[in-house]
Amino acid sequence: MTTEELISLELFCSHQGVEIAFVHALHERGLLQITVVQDRSFVAPEVLPHIEKLARMHYEMDINLEGIEAISHLLERVERLQSDMRAMHERLRLYEEG
């Protein structure tokens, strides 16, 4: 992905009212990917909804970084389990219909 396709972190944070330090802290905890080009930080456009979601947890729900980290891991598991369950239901439907 070229730099033109990435979003400047500074620009995103000023638009969304999110502290840059918060996004860097998420990055340090492995919760999102930041690309650094010539000392400037960028994020991929597809990551923006994820940052917005984590920012909502922090600013709207008052959850600290440790909490966000724990919740993110649990949510990943919940989503994986839900996806497995959907697939099981689909498979069961095939047997029931067939």
């Binding site: 709207e60 729900m61 959850i63 919940v78 689909e90 095939l94």
Partner: protein
């Protein structure tokens, strides 16, 4: 049933602004859709909490809510109607007292009833009806983001169908429902997609399942076969001594994941080993030789 925003947030009516904020945050941590993926009950509950918070966290709105209860949005209409009725009461000799004074909730309900029921009150705006529509797709159409024209109540609507849409999934098109009453906003249009079965591919979540015949010799000795997918052909390596019914997973060759550009499920191919028929005498002889060479 009337909605009690204080009750929704678990608060007393004299709660402070800080208490409202704390109660909202506590409930949001429990019911926020970000924390409850694909949970419609949590989503509904959060909408209630959010609405209660939006009203009670704004001092002006809270004041109106405390005065008019669930009809707080129509507080201004109420005030105007109250004045109009008071002056009508005076001119008809009913005396100077307003029938709405006294501050009890029951007194307001008659007035709001007349406002909404059209019994001489002001016209109130109502949101239009929501429309439901269906769209039939085949599996290949659901594979790509594409535009579609729908006719809903005689009107043509152009919609974008995102790749990876699921059978039975409903999307909302805001403002394309029935017209509002008295200049109120339009309702929304809900479109439910029905995706027809494909003769060769079964979709399970984002994975595609299919079956492929392999001749005995390729199954025994290994080789390459060409597999037709929904988007062209791919070459598939068959390992030597592949057993009948073996499943092969082709990473990323399945269905696109809804609203996750470039992400695909897998394709799972079941290999059916086919035995040759119409053998020549020479072939039989060779097979017997093979049989006899078995330890």
């Amino acid at each position: 049933m009337a909605t009690d925003f204080y009750k929704i947030l678990g608060l007393e009516r004299n709660a402070t602004a800080d208490a409202i904020k704390a109660a909202y945050r506590k409930l949001a941590r429990k019911y926020h859709p970000d924390l409850n993926p694909n949970d419609s009950e949590a989503k509904r509950k959060f909408q209630e909490i959010n609405e209660a918070h939006e009203v009670l966290s704004d001092p002006e709105n809270r004041k109106k809510y405390d005065a008019y209860g669930e009809h707080w949005k129509h507080g201004e209409e109420y005030e105007q109607a109250r004045k109009a009725q008071a002056s009508a009461g005076r001119s008809s000799g009913r005396g100077g007292g307003s029938p709405f004074e006294g501050g009890s909730g029951e007194d307001y309900s008659d007035l709001f009833g007349s406002m909404f029921g059209g019994g001489g009150g002001r016209q109130v705006k109502f949101r239009g009806q929501d429309y439901q529509a269906g769209s039939n797709l085949d599996l290949v159409q659901a594979l790509h983001t594409h535009k579609q024209m729908l006719t809903v109540n005689g009107k043509q609507i152009r919609i974008t169908v995102p790749a990876g849409v699921e059978n039975g999934q409903t999307i909302k098109i805001p403002g394309h429902g029935g017209p509002g009453v008295n200049g109120g906003p339009h309702g929304d249009l809900y479109i439910t997609f029905r995706i027809a079965d494909h003769p060769r591919f079964k979709r399970v979540g984002n994975d595609l399942h299919t079956a492929m015949d392999v001749d005995l010799f390729t199954a025994l000795l290994g080789g390459e076969i060409t597999l037709g997918t929904l988007e062209g052909s791919v070459k598939l390596s068959v390992k030597p001594e592949t057993q009948n019914g073996t499943k092969v997973r082709l990473k990323g060759k399945g269905f696109p994941v809804y609203k996750q550009e470039g992400v695909h499920g897998d394709m799972i191919v079941t290999l059916n080993v086919k035995l040759p028929t119409g053998l020549s005498e020479r072939q039989r002889e060779l097979l017997r030789e093979l049989q006899n060479s078995q330890p």
